[in-house]
Symmetry: C2
Subunit: 209 residues, 2 copies
């Protein structure tokens, strides 16, 4: 697939991806603060560390290009802040599901979109976003809660449906501005794959996607 | 100075030090979330990363010893949670000063107390706690605020005095339980040096200690 027309220029691409990781970090550090026990707190702090490392690695790429990270991220902040507020959830469980679902989808998405960057930039971005280990603690806590708390599975299944819609809107808005209808059509298979991966994540938790 | 009678055994020492870093991380990640602009948010996220790395490095030492980190940290949680609540401050500025002052004093203190560990454990702990880079962003934001906001210096000077008292109480409670009065007297020069370093930090910000 040729993503050249869809992928933003490298600097805004990195700024957007970096800001998303900063928001993921904020969600996860709130999950650490709200954790009901020390084991969960400790495990989630490792997840927060992964998001923070991705953020700093993307920032480092911006610095190498001589860009000022805060300036580059600023235009994306209002929409992404609103996204984070909309997906923060009403309690710890919803926050955990958000952290798992939105980070999973957006990491996948920016990895796909990176195909439109130069080979060199692409391989660095893909390497940064591929760092694993953030999701395991989330899945563990969620699976325990779903098994033990009556009604939680139904509530989280509903919440997951809302998350996927909001996240796809963010993904669509991340496309190069002014891309044509033909270009938009070219991204459709990526969205289809994002939704399929989302369904697998929900299935893995025993939730109806 | 011989700290053998004062320093807790290695496992509780590490648990206590690790939990303190987790609390420092929680404070700093709250400072990230509350930051008034993206530049400050980005710089403070690096400070949060330093505290998180120290936490995880200390946890790693516990794992090497076959200890379960959450279990080892648990006995220290109530007092340290209360300490964090007491030192959280009423706004972003007080939170920043707390993060700077309490982390500075407690890192110095646990570094001193590590003299009572085996040479091998001591050198690992000292190396972990010596990671630098957490304070620079805090000093930068605080210095800017103090220069620009009328009345902030006076308010933070008062707040700093309260912080030093609360932090010394935590430091004293971290001594091996049941240590003798003679042992307690031996720790006094360490407290004197902690207060001197605190005064230098406050002076550096133009605040009366």
């Amino acid at each position: 697939m040729d993503f050249t027309e869809l992928t933003p220029d490298l600097v805004p691409f990195l700024g957007q991806a970096a800001y998303i990781q900063l928001e993921m970090f904020e969600n996860l550090s709130r999950a650490v603060a709200l954790a009901p026990d020390l084991g969960a707190k400790e495990r989630l702090s490792a997840s927060a560390g992964v998001a923070l490392r991705k953020h700093h690695a993307l920032i480092e790429q911006l610095r190498r290009l001589g860009a000022e990270p805060a300036e580059v991220m600023a235009p994306f902040a209002p929409a992404l802040d609103a996204f984070r507020r909309a997906t923060a959830g009403s309690d710890w469980w919803e926050l955990l599901l958000s952290s798992y679902i939105t980070a999973g989808m957006l990491d996948d998405y920016f990895t796909a979109l990176a195909s439109g960057l130069s080979p060199d930039a692409r391989s660095r971005v893909v390497h940064i976003l591929a760092e694993d280990g953030g999701a395991a603690a989330l899945v563990r806590e969620l699976a325990t809660g779903i098994a033990e708390i009556p009604g939680l599975a139904d509530r989280l299944a509903l919440w997951g449906r809302r998350l996927v819609g909001d996240t796809l809107l963010v993904a669509r808005s991340a496309l190069r501005s002014g891309s044509s209808a033909a270009a938009d059509a070219r991204i459709e298979p990526v969205f289809t794959e994002l939704i399929a991966a989302h369904t697998r994540r929900m299935d893995g938790l025993g939730l109806t996607a």
